[in-house]
């Protein structure tokens, strides 16, 4: 999908109007951002926004996140284990200490 984020009042207004006029192309709308369907028409709207508002518009192409393909096993397993922890008040790093789960600092350093 195409994620369009706006950074000025005018760009936000244009996006709002575009979303209202082209509901079929809009997957989701959030305040000043919207997810557009990945059709040629979605691209057409995105290009128009970029053309009109240049730097006030950010457009990203998004993909569904598949935790089995896009994240290392260790990360996925750490998340599952942490969500199933006994005591809900344990911070992650204390939970991970002394286990095979990666420390949060290390995960922050590593790009996917």
């Amino acid at each position: 999908m195409l994620l369009v984020v706006t950074y000025s009042r005018r760009a936000r207004e244009t996006l709002r109007n575009a979303c209202r006029a082209h509901e079929e192309t809009v997957v989701r709308r959030f305040g000043r951002a919207a997810l557009l369907r990945e059709t040629e028409y979605g691209a057409f709207l995105a290009c128009r926004l970029r053309e009109r508002h240049a730097a006030d518009v950010q457009i990203q192409r998004t993909e569904p996140f598949n935790e089995f393909a896009d994240a290392p096993d260790s990360v996925r397993e750490a998340a599952v284990a942490y969500e199933q922890r006994e005591s809900p008040n344990t911070p992650y790093d204390r939970f991970a200490a002394g286990t095979d789960h990666p420390p949060s600092a290390a995960m922050r350093e590593r790009d996917l």
Partner: protein
Amino acid sequence: MTAATPPPSFTLVLPDDTQLSGPVVDLRGRPTAPPRSALVRAVRAGGPVPEPAPAVLGPPPGPAHDHVGLLRTDRSFDRRAALAALAAARGVQTPHDPALATARRRLRAMSASPLDTSELREARRRAAEAGSQTERLRERVATIRGRVTALRAANDDVDKRVLEDAEDSLAAATRRLSEVSTRRVAAGQRLALLEARARNARDDRERRLRLEDRIGNLERAQRDARVAAVAPAFAAARDRIATRVSTGGDTVSRSTALTGALAAGRLAPPRAPLVVAPDVVAFLGGVAAAADALAAPLLVR
């Protein structure tokens, strides 16, 4: 409150250089006088204007003039906007004024953080081109390689020169592919760099947008407060005006738009002349009565 001091005088300069002065200028006897819209424009523009338009010399219009500057029977009246402008003209202060002033000052002080989008655009175009070129060459190399392999397999049956030619073109294509791949990597890195820079610039834009939203909210609150501050005086003035014009006929007394505009005109501090249509003057009971009712300089047309 304004009736004690006489309304300020002004001078109307017609396109034929005729000059008419006074707190009230009556153009009813002059069929060649400029149309009402031209007069309103002249009042708002002030001072000399390009010929052959009329000019009005006198106090500049206040904030409410947009809403009360033209009084005719078929007008519309945006009550909220008019009351807010009226309050501003009367110098009404609200608790939101200081915060709004601060926020506006901060917005002005913010750097515009210009971002060269053409550079980024060019980088996107280059990266895309380098990408598709690489794909095309990769396919070409694969095709030639297939051909060379086939020729080698059939070694005995082929002309040596044909095989050599094919090997040469494979070498050339491979070389070209490696050049283009290098360029592709460079283009990708450049694009990533510029995109990272654009992301940083967006933080500034984000802060700016938040401040603009804050200003928008404060402006709404200020407007509400302004409207509330003058609403009672406005209601009273409108009742008085409605009584005055009730003899003028159903059309006017029922036109809340006109009575609203008249009441706001009465409450606005007298500055630039109000352009009044003759039928409105008649409803108010003549020029003198209209000047008294509105307590403002008038231009009757």
